[in-house]
C-alpha cells in the first residue's frame, strides 16, 4: 500500500513537503487530480499518480497546464473535489482558464497548487505568483512549514466549497523540498462521480453573463476578505511595538531571529497565511500597536505595498519598509542569517554576526555542472546536427527539458530559450528576420505541451527552418512522467491511447519529415543535411529512448565500449561529444565500463576506429 494511504490517524511520518500536500489532498477526499509536471511540484503529482493506481482517485498527466486546469474545471463543476498542480511558470500557461474560471466558480472544491521557485533552482524565472491571486480575485493560502502545508490543503478544499471558488495554494521550493515529521489525520471519503446541472446563464461566459459573474466574483472576494480577518492562518504573536509582517518560510527565519537576538519581548509578528484577500482590518489594528514595521517576504513587495496602502487608509504615518537597499532584496531566496541581520539593523539592535572563516586561500574548485547522461540520445542528435550544419551561420532555438543542457560545451547547441514551446515559434521569427540558418530543438513532452501550435503557425505562414523533435519516449527532466506519445504498456498501464508524433506532424502538412535513429551517426547526419537543405518547414524526429528511463524499465543493456591500442589521441570523442563515461588515465582516453551504456556513438566518431565493444 502507498505510504500516503496509511489509515493511522495520529501516526507521525517523515514526509517531503510535496508528500504532505498529496496526503492533505487525500485526507480532504480529493477524487480528481490533474497536472503537467514541473519542479518543484513534481512529487505531489507523482504520489497522486501512484495512489490513483491503488484507489478510485482519478489522476491524469494532462498535455499542459492550461489543459490540466480546464479538465479540473469540468470535474469541479460536476461537483467532484479536484486538485490541479503546476510549477509557477505553469500558471502562465493556465492563466487563460484561471481568469474566467474565477468568474464561473466551482461546485466541488478545487485547489490549484502553484510551486514557486525563488532563486530559480530549476526554473527559467522567479516570478511571484501571489499576483495571480490578486489578478484573478481568488483566495490564496501560503504555508510556512511541511505540517502546515498538509493542514492548508485540507482546509483549502473546505474554503473552496464555502466560497464556491477555486483556492490557490502557493508554496516555494523550501516547502516542497523540505522534510519533517507530520502527524497523519483521518482519511477522507472520495466522491468520484458527480452531475453537471445545466445553467447556461451561469456557465456560458458571453459578455452578458460575465457582467453578472464579475459582480458575483467581487461578492465572493468580499466574503473571502471577511474570512481572512478571522482565519487562524493569519495570526499575531508577541506584544512589542516593533512590527514584523511575514509569510511562508520567512516566518521561520523571523521566529528564530527574534529568539537569537533576544528581542522576542519587543517584537509583534503578523504571519500572513491567507495572502489574498489580505485581512485589512487585522493589518490596520496591528499597525496601530506598532511604532515601526518591517515586511519580510521573498519575491516582490506584494504585502509591503498593501500594508502601506492600508496605513494610509488608517491615517497612520509609522515607518513601514521591506524591500530596498540595506533591507530585503527582490532577488533570490532568503536565509536565516540574512533575515537576522536585516531585522537587527532595522530596529537598531546591536548584533555581531558569527565569525566567518577566511576563504581567500581556497584553491579554485572545478565546477560540477549537470551534464547530459552517458549514452544520452540528445548528445548523439546534437552531434549529428552540428556536423550537418558545419560551415553554416546558425541559430539554435532550443526549449525546456534535459536537452537544454546541450547549450554547454563541447556541444554548444542552444542559443535561445524563454519558455515551454518557444523553440518552434521563436524559430519562425528568427528565420523570417534573418538570413541565418535556423534549427529548433524540442523534446517530445514539450512538443505536445506547446510545440504543436507553433508548428501549425510555421506551416501556415510558410516559415523556413528545421525542427528537430528529440523524442526519448518520456518526460525525462522531471522524473519520467508519461505524456501523450508514451508507450503506457511499457509502464504496465492500460486504458490509454498513444498519440504518434509523426502522424501529428504529417497531418499538419509539413513538407519534409524524416525519422532518424541518432545512434546511427552517418545516416542521421545525411538525413539532417537533406532537411537543412529543404526550403520551408522540415522536421526531423530523432527517436531513441531516454537511457535512464530504459534502465528503470530494466531493458537489456548493451555491452560497454573500450579504447583500444589503435587510439592516436585525437580526442574527438572528448572534444566533440564529451560523454561523461570518458576519463583520462596517464594522458590516455579511457571509458568507464560502469557508466558506458554501449550506445556506440563515440565508436562512430573516432577517426581511427579505436573504440571497440568490450568482448564477452
Amino acid at each position: 500500500m502507498h505510504k500516503l494511504l496509511a489509515d493511522e490517524p495520529g501516526a507521525k511520518i517523515l514526509m517531503l513537503g510535496n508528500e504532505a500536500i498529496a496526503r492533505g489532498a487525500v485526507e480532504a477526499g480529493v477524487a480528481f487530480a490533474t497536472t503537467y509536471p514541473g519542479t518543484p511540484s513534481s512529487e505531489i503529482s507523482l504520489n497522486l499518480f501512484q495512489i490513483s493506481q491503488q484507489s478510485d482517485l482519478y489522476f491524469e498527466y494532462s498535455t499542459n497546464e492550461k489543459v490540466a486546469l480546464e479538465v479540473a474545471a469540468g470535474a469541479a463543476n460536476a461537483g467532484v473535489r479536484t486538485m490541479c498542480m503546476m510549477k509557477h511558470v505553469g500558471m502562465n500557461v493556465a492563466a487563460d482558464p484561471l481568469m474566467t474560471l474565477a468568474y464561473v466558480g466551482v461546485k466541488g472544491g478545487l485547489v490549484i497548487l502553484t510551486a514557486d521557485d525563488p532563486n530559480m533552482f530549476s526554473s527559467q524565472n522567479e516570478q511571484d505568483n501571489r499576483y495571480y491571486a490578486k489578478m484573478s480575485g481568488l483566495p490564496m493560502l501560503e504555508p510556512s512549514s511541511v505540517a502546515e502545508a498538509l493542514e492548508m490543503v485540507r482546509h483549502a478544499f473546505d474554503l473552496s466549497e464555502e466560497l464556491r471558488e477555486p483556492v490557490i495554494l502557493r508554496t516555494t521550493t523550501r516547502i516542497n523540498h523540505s522534510s519533517a515529521f507530520v502527524e497523519l489525520g483521518t482519511l477522507g471519503q472520495r466522491t468520484t462521480s458527480g452531475v453537471f446541472k445545466k445553467d447556461p446563464l451561469s456557465y456560458v461566459t458571453v459578455p452578458a453573463v460575465s457582467r453578472k459573474l464579475h459582480v458575483k466574483l467581487l461578492e465572493n472576494l468580499a466574503k473571502a476578505a471577511r474570512i481572512s480577518e478571522t482565519t487562524p492562518f493569519n495570526h499575531v504573536s508577541g506584544s512589542g511595538t516593533w512590527g514584523v509582517v511575514c509569510n511562508g518560510v520567512s516566518h521561520n527565519y523571523i521566529s528564530d531571529a527574534v529568539q537569537e537576538l533576544g528581542i522576542a519581548d519587543r517584537v509583534r509578528i503578523l504571519r500572513i497565511g491567507m495572502s489574498n484577500p489580505l485581512p485589512a482590518d487585522l493589518i490596520k489594528a496591528f499597525l496601530k500597536e506598532c511604532d515601526k514595521v518591517l515586511v519580510v517576504e521573498e519575491g516582490e513587495p506584494f504585502m509591503e505595498e498593501a500594508v502601506k496602502a492600508l496605513a494610509q487608509e488608517a491615517a497612520l504615518t509609522l515607518p513601514i519598509h521591506g524591500k530596498g537597499e540595506d533591507l530585503f532584496s527582490r532577488l533570490y531566496e532568503f536565509d536565516p542569517a540574512m533575515v537576522r541581520r536585516v531585522l537587527a539593523a532595522y530596529f537598531s539592535v546591536a548584533y555581531t554576526p558569527p565569525a566567518k572563516i577566511d576563504l581567500a586561500d581556497i584553491p579554485e574548485i572545478p565546477a560540477r555542472p549537470p551534464n547530459l547522461c552517458a549514452g544520452c540520445s540528445h548528445r548523439a542528435t546534437y552531434y549529428a546536427v552540428k556536423k550537418a550544419a558545419k560551415g553554416m551561420d546558425t541559430i539554435y532555438a532550443t526549449d525546456i527539458g534535459c536537452y537544454t543542457l546541450g547549450f554547454l560545451p563541447p556541444l554548444s547547441m542552444g542559443d535561445f530559450v524563454i519558455c515551454m514551446g518557444s523553440s518552434v515559434s521563436s524559430a519562425c521569427g528568427f528565420s523570417r528576420a534573418t538570413d541565418q540558418k535556423v534549427v529548433a530543438f524540442i523534446g517530445d513532452s514539450t512538443f505536445f505541451h506547446s510545440g504543436i501550435t507553433g508548428l501549425i503557425n510555421a506551416v501556415h505562414n510558410n516559415h523556413n527552418f528545421t525542427l528537430v523533435i528529440l523524442d526519448n519516449g518520456i518526460t525525462a527532466m522531471t522524473g519520467h512522467q508519461p505524456h501523450p506519445g508514451v508507450d503506457m504498456a511499457a509502464m504496465q498501464m492500460e486504458g490509454y491511447h498513444r498519440v504518434s508524433i509523426e502522424a501529428v506532424v504529417r497531418a499538419l502538412g509539413v513538407g519534409h519529415i524524416t525519422l532518424v535513429k541518432p545512434f546511427k551517426v552517418k545516416k542521421s547526419i545525411t538525413a539532417i543535411e537533406e532537411a537543412l537543405a529543404y526550403k520551408g518547414v522540415s522536421v526531423i524526429i530523432s527517436q531513441e529512448i531516454c537511457t535512464l528511463y530504459a534502465r528503470s524499465l530494466k531493458m537489456p543493456r548493451q555491452r560497454p565500449f573500450q579504447v583500444s591500442e589503435r587510439c592516436k589521441n585525437h580526442r574527438d570523442c572528448i572534444n566533440e561529444l564529451g560523454c561523461p563515461a570518458f576519463y583520462l588515465d596517464a594522458n590516455r582516453v579511457r571509458i568507464d565500463a560502469n557508466a558506458c551504456v554501449g550506445c556506440a556513438v563515440c565508436a562512430q566518431v573516432c577517426p581511427e576506429n579505436a573504440i571497440v565493444r568490450v568482448k564477452e
Binding site: L14, R174, H177, P336, R368, P369, L405, L548, G578
Partner: protein, 207 residues
C-alpha cells in the same frame, strides 16, 4: 537597546550540512538521520536541493535539529559539515565557521571536466590542511574503502553516518541510529549497512 544576542544562546539547535554528488546516497542518509531523531525525541527539519542530481550535479541537504524553525542553514552557520566527496567538502567550506566539525570521505569523484583533463582537482593533502586550519576539527578518511569492506560500495552513506555519530555532536545515540538503519533501509542490505556504520564509527575514532 537590548542584548547582543548570539545564536549560540540557542544551544538546543544543531545545524548539519551534508554535501554529495548525485547518486552517492545522501538523501537516504538524511532520511535515516531524521528517523533516528524521531526515536530520540528530537525535533528535526530538513531541506534539500537536488535539482539535477541524476545528471551528475551536487546534492546539498540541510538538517536542523532542535527548537529552531528554519530548515535552511546560512553561510558560516553549520555546526557540522558532512562531505561525501573531498572537493565538494572543500566547496562547502563557506557553510563553516571556526567551531565547525568537518567530516569527509577522502575518495575523490572528479568532476567530468577534471576527468577529461580540463580542470585541476585540488591536492588532497592541501585540502586537508586548509580545512583543518580553518575549522575546529577535521575527520577525514577513505569511506569508500570501508563501504567496500562492509560489502557494498553503496554503503558509503552509512560509513559516514558512523563517523558522524562518533563525534557525539548530535543528540542521537548510535543505537537509535542503528534502529533507524534496520527499519528504514532495504532489509537485504541491513547487515551490510550496520557493518558499514560500525566501520565508520571506528574510523571516526581513529581519524
Amino acid at each position: 537597546m537590548t542584548a547582543t544576542g548570539q545564536r549560540k544562546e540557542n544551544m538546543n539547535t544543531i545545524r548539519l550540512i551534508i554535501v554529495a554528488v548525485g547518486g552517492q546516497g545522501n538523501l537516504l542518509a538524511s532520511k535515516v538521520l531524521g528517523e533516528a531523531a524521531l526515536l530520540a525525541g528530537v525535533p528535526v527539519r530538513m531541506s534539500e536541493i537536488h535539482g539535477m542530481a541524476q545528471r551528475g550535479g551536487v546534492v546539498e541537504s540541510a538538517i536542523v535539529m532542535g527548537q529552531a524553525r528554519s530548515n535552511l542553514i546560512s553561510d558560516g552557520e553549520a555546526d557540522i559539515l558532512l562531505g561525501f566527496e573531498p572537493s565538494e567538502t572543500l566547496r562547502a567550506l563557506n557553510k563553516c565557521n571556526p567551531d565547525t566539525v568537518v567530516i569527509t570521505n577522502m575518495a575523490p569523484l572528479p568532476p567530468f571536466t577534471v576527468a577529461i583533463g580540463k580542470g585541476t582537482y585540488p591536492d588532497l593533502n592541501q585540502l586537508q590542511t586548509l580545512i583543518r586550519s580553518k575549522t575546529q576539527r577535521l575527520i577525514a578518511f577513505d569511506a569508500v574503502a570501508l563501504a567496500k569492506q562492509a560489502g557494498n560500495v553503496m554503503a558509503l552513506n552509512m560509513v559516514l553516518l558512523g563517523a558522524l555519530l562518533q563525534t557525539r555532536q548530535l543528540p542521537i545515540t548510535p543505537e537509535q541510529l542503528k534502529e533507524a538503519i534496520r527499519t528504514k533501509t532495504k532489509a537485504n542490505l541491513a547487515d551490510v549497512n550496520l557493518k558499514a556504520f560500525d566501520l565508520g564509527y571506528a574510523a571516526g575514532q581513529d581519524a
